[in-house]
């Protein structure tokens, strides 16, 4: 493999890893702060993708907006959805054991899948990226790289930066970090856990929906996309350490690199490599790379 190809593969790995981070960050927050195992997280990703597909025509005709208006609208709807879901459903789960949460969120996956089938159908759909992002950049003489994928990476990096700033520089971030380390203590120190949970959950949903929306133009929109991303997300969260956003970032990039280069060098064993890596890391650091508390 020459240097040019190697660099491009690194770029591929980076982009895949960053997108994984966007989805996994929501999961690690919900898992870490609220202690809830949410199997339906992949469904939020799918909802985001389908929203990008379903809202786009309506936004163009009724609101006269474009891609970014759709994104904004999707995010608003996601926050609303997260808020309602937490109030109606997830708040029942906090006192429950992990296994009951597993069962209930599994039921939720089935409900979401079927609702999606009823509302939007089972066909595969494409979403087009906005025109000004649809070009390509030449990478040497070998191949061109889609500008849109660079845009995805940029958005993920921005979100990562924003999360870092919020978590380390704001009071809300402080409350979130405290809550992930020791919930009871945080509560007894005056943090309103109920509100905090609602905010964190809505944020988690919004992150997954955002990931689904911006990924839609490159991943296409199809049934079953939620399930595929779910298991990889759990792997990322566990490798990184539950509740650690920094851990999710590092883990996502690791998975991105192992998956990309695994495909190239070990086509037969590519699927196994990510799991081997997770097993190896957990045996070295049984609580993930950056476990909190």
């Amino acid at each position: 493999m020459d240097l040019g190809t190697f660099l491009i593969q690194c770029l591929n790995a980076l982009q895949y890893g960053l997108l994984l981070f966007l989805v996994a960050s929501g999961l690690t927050l919900i898992f870490g702060i609220m202690g809830v195992i949410n199997l339906a997280h992949g469904s939020f990703y799918m909802i985001g993708a389908y929203m990008a597909y379903a809202l786009a025509p309506w936004v163009t005709t009724t609101l006269g907006g474009g891609f970014f208006t759709t994104l904004l609208l999707g995010l608003v709807l996601a926050v609303l959805l997260g808020y309602v879901l937490e109030w109606l459903f997830f708040s029942y789960l906090y006192e429950r054991e992990h296994l009951q949460q597993v069962l209930m969120t599994y039921g939720l996956i089935l409900v979401f899948e079927e609702l999606r089938s009823i509302l939007v159908g089972d066909d595969v759909h494409g979403v087009s990226a906005p025109d000004w992002l649809s070009g390509t950049i030449a990478l040497g003489s070998l191949m061109t790289y889609p500008v849109y994928r660079l845009f995805i990476s940029a958005v993920c990096l921005l979100v990562a930066l924003a999360m870092y700033l919020v978590l380390s520089r704001t009071r809300l971030g402080m409350a979130v970090r405290a809550g992930s380390v020791n919930r009871e203590m945080a509560q007894s120190l005056g943090v309103n856990i109920g509100v905090l949970y609602r905010v964190v959950f809505a944020a988690g949903v919004a992150l997954a929906v955002l990931a689904g929306m911006i990924a839609a133009p490159v991943s296409s929109v199809y049934p079953g996309m939620g399930g595929q991303v779910l298991i990889i997300c759990f792997v990322v969260v566990v490798i990184g350490g539950i509740g650690s956003v920094r851990g999710a970032f590092v883990a996502a990039l690791l998975v991105g690199f192992v998956d990309t280069f695994g495909k190239v060098f070990f086509q037969e064993a590519a699927g196994v490599l990510v799991y081997l890596m997770m097993a190896a890391i957990l045996l070295w650091k049984p609580e993930g790379l950056f476990r909190q508390g």
Binding site: M1, D2, T5, I8, Q9, N12, A13, Q15, Y16, W87, L88, F89, E113, E114, S117, G121, D122, D123, V124, H125, G126, S128, T136, A138, L142, M143, T144, Y145, P146, Y148, R149, V218, S219, S220, V221, Y222, P223, G224, M225, Q228, D259, T260, F261, K263, V264, Q267, E268, A270, G271
Partner: protein, 386 residues
């Protein structure tokens, strides 16, 4: 607050309309097709096609009224045996029709082989179904994965390409399609310089697209279907490869996926046993009837379902509706000439369609007929001993 929450959830749970009972069973056809998941649309198309043929004949085939029993196979091979047994033992079907997914079809073939129930496969192209698992009572109305691949191999060899990279999912359909392509292409003087594959149903192609670019072949042959096909075509174009390295594929790359693929699919050449504008009187009549009945245009899957019904009719007519005459029933289908919207076809000794494979080009939202890629192509039926 608690009450409101409980009421809301309870209200969401209610609302299941109850069914009315079925009436007058005559010949029971068991449809095992996906009603959920990625292949649901294909299952619906096959079912529509089959039922259209029956409806065109007044709901009767060879004088026997047709009744349907249906099972959602969820494209899950692990549940397939149980689902087939549901049709055979609970619903006591006389004939089995299914499935879309090859793993599911293989489980069906085993049960059909053991019980002697007639099975018509309206899609799954796995070689084993008319290969190692072949049986006098197992038929296929669709294709074998090998056929479109072989046809494209001939086409590309004729075009003068010397080096080709293949890329597909690592499963039977992908392996067999690439295998068929390789058979014809290397016989025609070309060479497959690299065979790339990734685990099914992974759709992260970037790493492999980079490999294709680095290998700099004359052309690329691929097999993908459904969501993977949409993503691959778009990623291929976005990587600039569409301009530098022509892409060819088995027809599933562009069947049912054109709306999602948009301009990225424009001009793509594929091979399949059907095209959107064959223009024959038979096809025109079929397309009109289908559009009238279901308000959408038919696709290759609908044709396959339609022809499965034709094959059943051929067998039933020969035995005058008496399915107990198994040997005559099987022989009649084996010798039948099916007047299909895709063009007339017969069955090979291993019960796979011997059919014309067309070369199509994507123009706008259609796969338009460009020419004949292979005439009366028969799958070799390796491993079949009947």
């Amino acid at each position: 607050m608690n009450v409101i929450r409980t009421v809301l959830i309870a209200a969401a749970v209610l609302g299941a309309p109850l069914a009315t009972a079925q009436t007058a069973p005559k010949l029971k056809v068991g449809l095992m097709l996906p009603a959920s998941g990625t292949y649901a649309a294909l299952g619906t198309a096959i079912e529509n096609g089959f039922k259209l043929y029956v409806a065109e004949h007044g709901g009767k085939l060879a004088g026997r009224e047709i009744e349907f029993a249906q099972v959602d196979d969820e494209s899950d091979p692990a549940k397939a045996t149980d689902n087939v047994n549901k049709l055979i033992k609970r619903d006591s079907v006389d004939v089995l029709v299914g499935s879309v997914h090859s793993g599911v079809a293989m489980a069906m073939a085993k049960v059909a082989r053991d019980t002697g129930t007639p099975l018509i496969v309206p899609n799954a192209g796995a070689a084993a179904v008319t290969g190692s698992m072949c049986a006098p009572n197992i038929f296929r109305s669709s294709f074998s994965n090998w056929q479109p691949g072989y046809a494209m191999g001939e086409v590309m060899a004729l075009k003068g390409y010397k080096s080709v990279v293949t890329i597909t999912w690592k499963y039977a359909a992908g392996d067999e399609s690439v295998g068929g392509f390789k058979d014809a292409f290397e016989k025609g003087g070309g060479k497959v310089i690299k065979e790339l594959s990734l685990a099914f149903p992974d759709v992260e192609f970037q790493a492999l697209l980079t490999e294709i670019a680095a290998a700099k072949p004359d052309a690329v042959y691929t097999f993908f279907a459904g969501g993977g096909a949409v993503k691959f075509v778009k990623d291929y174009a976005a990587a600039g490869l569409k301009k530098s390295t022509p892409l060819y594929g088995a027809g599933f790359l562009t069947d049912g996926t054109l709306e999602a693929q948009g301009a990225d699919a424009e001009g793509l050449l594929t091979t399949l046993h059907y095209a959107d504008d064959l223009g024959t009187p038979r096809d025109n009549a079929f397309r009109l009837a289908y559009a009238k009945a279901y308000q959408i245009q038919p696709d290759v899957y609908a044709v396959q379902g339609y022809d499965a019904a034709q094959m059943l009719a051929a067998g039933l007519t020969a035995v005058k509706g008496d399915l107990s005459k198994k040997a005559e029933f099987n022989a009649a289908i084996e010798k039948a000439k099916i007047d299909s919207p895709r063009g007339a076809f017969t069955l090979s000794r291993s019960h796979n369609p011997v059919q014309d494979i067309y070369l199509r080009k994507v123009v706008g939202k259609q796969n338009k007929l460009v020419g004949l890629a292979s005439r009366a192509l028969a799958d070799p039926g390796l491993g079949c001993r009947m």
